[in-house]
Symmetry: C2
Subunit: 174 residues, 2 copies
């Protein structure tokens, strides 16, 4: 889909097609529709990121809390969103050996206990070893830093999901 097509979408189609670029937060996509027309992919992405940045800290934590654990119960029970399922499978999260699976569970719980939100990392830009290492390291961070770190990852995930849906070239004639 090119940006001209995106700009012509009624809000219902816009939200249906792009509503999960931030996991389980269609309100963000729905809000950003107010900013159309978008000059290009980058402008659309920037509008999403600005909306996120303008949220209060509780709202940013809210975004993180809407993300499922990596290799967690949503993956086990088949209740991940399609996008999350594909991303987690791509990073091997659905095929961990039992030692890695236990370690992931333990670290996820430790992380949530410490920070009060979920560990978020862009699975498509990391492999299993990397994810486990970062989860372990990031458990040591301070809360405010880690909230910002999580939101950075949300934006990376969002960019890749958007790239799956919207062409990044071909600037639109406004």
């Amino acid at each position: 889909m090119d940006i001209a097509t995106v700009n012509a979408l009624p809000f219902e189609d816009f939200v249906n097609l792009l509503g999960n670029v931030v996991e389980k937060c269609p309100i963000i996509t729905a809000a950003v529709w107010s900013r159309r027309p978008f000059l290009n992919f980058t402008a659309l992405e920037a509008a999403i990121n600005e909306f996120i940045d303008d949220l209060p800290e509780s709202g940013k934590e809210g975004i993180l809390r809407c993300h499922p654990d990596l290799a967690g119960r949503d993956l086990q029970s088949g209740t991940l969103t399609r996008e999350s399922r594909e991303e987690q499978a791509g990073a091997g999260m659905d095929a961990l050996n039992s030692a890695d699976a236990s370690r992931m569970t333990r670290l996820n719980e430790e992380y949530k206990e410490r920070f009060g939100f979920s560990f978020v990392i862009c699975a498509r830009m990391n492999d299993k070893a990397n994810i486990l290492r970062q989860l372990s390291e990031r458990c040591q961070n301070e809360r405010a830093l880690e909230r910002a770190r999580g939101i950075e990852e949300v934006k990376k995930i969002c960019r890749l999901r958007l790239q799956d849906l919207v062409r990044t070239d071909a600037p639109n004639k406004l």
Copy 2:
């Protein structure tokens, strides 16, 4: 569930149980978890309403755009959330005669065309005749007024959904 139970919920359970009190906006519930413990039902409701009020206007429009049409395609295709399905059925939206159904469709389209967001009304506090009358009347409002009106209705829906889940009596000892 009493407020003490609500206050003791880990965020994942809190979001799973209360995440749709604002339709398709679990980020709001997830954000409000940061504000626990809640003194009582009213404090929980107030925290949700404050989060909504603090959103930029685009965010409020985003909430409205996450709401399905009354007697619209989600009802026809069975893709409403459980809460919306029950609320719409309660107001007779699933049993309109063909004249009322056509009128509802036409007015919904007119409303969305005019305002760029969905018509939201608390179906549990209105019957079919009332809903059709208000939809018709509210199409004449100014945009900013109508956005505020829609958000008022979101809050009424939220209160009733919360009341289905959380006891309103029994103040908690903090």
